[in-house]
Subunit: 449 residues, 2 copies
Amino acid sequence: MSERVTPSVADDELALLTDLYQLTMTQAYWKESLHETPSTFSLFFRKLPASRRFILACGQQHAAALLSQLRFNDTAIKRLQDTQMFDAGFLDWLANWRFEGDIWTVPEGTPLFPNEPLLEVDAPIGQAQLLESLVMNLVQLEITLTTKAARITWAAGDHPVVDFGMRRMHGIDAAVRGVRAYKTAGIHGTSNVLGGLRHGLALNGTMAHSYILAHDDERDAFRAFARHYPNTTLLIDTYDTLTGVERVIDLLREEPSLTVGAVRLDSGDLGDLAKRTRTLLDDAGYPAIKIIASSGLDEHSITDLIAKKAPIDAFGVGTHMGVSEDAPVLDLSYKLVEYAGKPRVKYSTGKVNLPSRKQVYRRRNAQGHYCGDVIALRDETGLDGEALLTPLVKGGELQTATFAQAENAPARVREALHHFPSHVTALEEGESRYAVDLSPALRGLASNV
Amino acid sequence: MSERVTPSVADDELALLTDLYQLTMTQAYWKESLHETPSTFSLFFRKLPASRRFILACGQQHAAALLSQLRFNDTAIKRLQDTQMFDAGFLDWLANWRFEGDIWTVPEGTPLFPNEPLLEVDAPIGQAQLLESLVMNLVQLEITLTTKAARITWAAGDHPVVDFGMRRMHGIDAAVRGVRAYKTAGIHGTSNVLGGLRHGLALNGTMAHSYILAHDDERDAFRAFARHYPNTTLLIDTYDTLTGVERVIDLLREEPSLTVGAVRLDSGDLGDLAKRTRTLLDDAGYPAIKIIASSGLDEHSITDLIAKKAPIDAFGVGTHMGVSEDAPVLDLSYKLVEYAGKPRVKYSTGKVNLPSRKQVYRRRNAQGHYCGDVIALRDETGLDGEALLTPLVKGGELQTATFAQAENAPARVREALHHFPSHVTALEEGESRYAVDLSPALRGLASNV
């Protein structure tokens, strides 16, 4: 496995990052001798956020890597003992606990719709129950950020998008793993040094207003920075954006050996300023200097700027993408769907709960466009389409062949967005008409459990 | 310092969790021999989210602890060298880098308003510039979560609120440090084992639907769990909530040695179900059994339930609090305000940027209620009110006396919310009329820089 896994807490603490009831329920299973009973839990969501028409799967690899190495070491056992909630016999059992089950999941970068299983865990209930809180925490972050970033790269089309959001993200783990999620969505670069280095995304950087202000004159700051960094990007809005452009032009005329790669607009009417900046640069004979825009951008403002033909070459996106501001949470459920070989389901008014182990078949029409999914029983045969779920973990061991799929996640996202109908990829609020049906066998089982 | 600090990345990597331009700008300062120039950066926000009337300071202690121990070790230097963006001489300097400046900040749990400095860093610009991205990432998480949680505890009044949100939070660091933020806001307990153990918040837990479904009959599940855990909480909505209540009553009648502390409602019309549940329990002679409600709760639904006199004893809150869903981000700015002993400021149309080192004076009226703030120059004298900013770090060293203030943060939040006017504490959208003025000296300076 090439990906480095460093949780935000020490490895020997990670097993304690769970909800208390996972441990008390597991102790109850153990006391009742139910802990070895085979079970399947299914991870899915019932409802999309209002501002989403699909979500992209992401983060299952990182989660699976952490879960397969999860152990309760002596320190963890001691801390649980100190709570006085657990029996000595149960803690002895927990000290030898490890996950030895299977995890089935869709490839990272796969679009998913309500009620489709994102991931299923087959394991004795004393193992599968204990994964719930951590697996949900881990995958929700990457799903949420990848999905938002994919909307932004979709809006930007051929224009590169760079992540400037590290400072707005929710803590250290989000900032580091977020870059992995952005890369999956086709973001082209990041300002985040550790995130970019760890996840192999190009590092990008410009300059901050403080650098300009640390010089007596904006011209001095531009000259010094351009001398240090050939082909750099200069931030031109500290005092007045168009004056800034003129100062860049003056500098290049005075000192023709200098090169400037781009100027960055970070405030004001970006569309109007980009046009005026482009004209000034072109008229001065610098058509190769690019224009980068930032300042509160999201998929909607990028769509508007492109529709207005603003001559912006690349977009820097921070705040809105950093927390997926319009949909920061996905209401995932991790539900027991099979137990002791029998389908199980919780009945709730108005909520869909599909029993048993499942598979999703995704169908394409003659033109290669996706035309509908069927959620089926995992062992059901005779269904058309691509089966989305495969085992990522078997008998507690990561399946490296499946892991290699993640390498293709950015390509998978691009391919998928181009082959789903426009009522799925549309960025405005609304529901797609994409069909997700139940197979006859699942439908029959769901009404009879 | 009693608080354990464990970043989500290894200690020796944390210095790399920054935006690339911090490093390239610092190299530029170094090349220009500007890196030792004294500077002050101010951290503040210009605008509140639409759904907030104040924010609560939080996270500065954790940030200061990490920043004061920040170093670029051999591995970090090697990784920067590999980017080929940095000179050998600069990397040698960086290998010996450490923060030796001062950090002034308000006590954790202090309500703040737009343009008030949350934190100021006085240090050579080669040090202060490098802190920007990390300090913003660290404090934004805790500010955002504390502020949301304080709205929820304010709505709940005397009813305890328990955090159930670990699975919805943005990754591992958010989940662990989030509990610290919740504790500051007066949350009474958490389901999050590691977060609760590390930050000293009571652990709470009930049971999940899967435990019920792992038994052939809900009655069997209730009996088994109640036998394992005297005085436990039983989740009663797996099949039908009111049938669940009757089964709890039947169980206690059949087996009078058992005790049940509470029942938990997790779906449906919580207000109506709570009333019916209360009646059933009281009529059966179990007035001491409490009712805990969960299921998509936030400050608004809790306010409604309390207004309807729903007999709910405690609230479990997850999704909405876990990411501060209605305001997941705070648009913090970290701006150079003083350089080489002179005030500096970026001019931007429509944006307030206050130059120089500052202090905030908070005034109370004769009844002890807060009646207005004055933002002043730090060295200005003759101003009324409590000076909010004190040094948390001096000469690179944590000031433990100041640290002790965080112990009182929950009390500070409670006290503050009770002494701010209702147009500040109101939960509905809108702006407060709380006065934040500039001192004459600051006003004069701001218009003349």
